[in-house]
Subunit: 119 residues, 2 copies
DNA sequence: GCATAGACCTAGTTTATCTATGCAACGGTG
DNA sequence: CACCGTTGCATAGATAAACTAGGTCTATGC
């Protein structure tokens, strides 16, 4: 039985978007789909979170956008990462891993009942 | 050069508190100190975050509290984890790790400049 | 006596997610 | 053609959980 998709923890969405855009330029809707696929269905991004996030990124010049026409003739807004965005990505990913390691130090060794005494 | 203490990512504070209380009962102020110590100074918890978190935990019966007198003669409010709290801890820690692994799948392989093409 | 640290607490702000809604174009099917 | 599900963009308001900034009181050390 698969689990319900989880929200992106606050602060992580911008980082994930930048990471996908570091690989290739994408339009908004596809970004959300990619996050869901890549996470194996664990993460689910709502459009009401996605588009505000893209606006934030644009405002701080971490991404650029360009309207483009698909083969179908349809207009989509394609986002690309900037130099500023790449720097932000490296910084936030580093901080994320640091914080996560710290949290892991605190919650380590959780068993069902009691915990293992360490020293 | 050490870094500034980071905030607890939203949703993680309750989990960390429960994890410390699973080890031993503590009063509020000490919980914050422990989180800072154990994280090697990476995490810093403000009292304005701590006490509301303890209230939440109390309301949902994840912890119990008892006023106790220290050797100094001072009154402190000591918190203990409940059965409900232990169950919550296991559940939230499992979910946290799941989500974190998913995020890691997405942001993996970030280098300074461009990324490694995988397949 | 007075400053510093320990210990508790609350009000209001901020931020980033969500839900809910709206609109429009494309694709396939009866 | 009419319909409907999916794609695609967007905004408004709700919610949650951290924060800042303030306040009170007690023990300890100089």
């Amino acid at each position: 039985m698969p689990h319900e998709p989880q929200n992106a923890p606050p602060g992580t969405l911008d980082m994930m978007i930048l990471s996908l855009l570091a690989e290739e330029s994408l339009h908004g809707y596809l970004i959300a789909r990619r996050i869901e696929e890549r996470s194996g269905g664990v993460l689910g991004i709502e459009e009401g979170s996605l588009y505000p996030a893209l606006q934030r990124l644009r405002k701080r010049k971490a991404v650029t956008d360009e309207w483009s026409t698909q083969d179908s003739g349809r207009e989509v807004r394609v986002y690309s990462i900037t130099r500023v965005g790449r720097a932000e990505l490296v910084a936030t990913a580093t901080r994320w891993r640091l914080v996560n390691a710290a949290i892991e130090k605190i919650i380590q060794d959780i068993k069902g009942g009691r915990r293992v005494k360490l020293a």
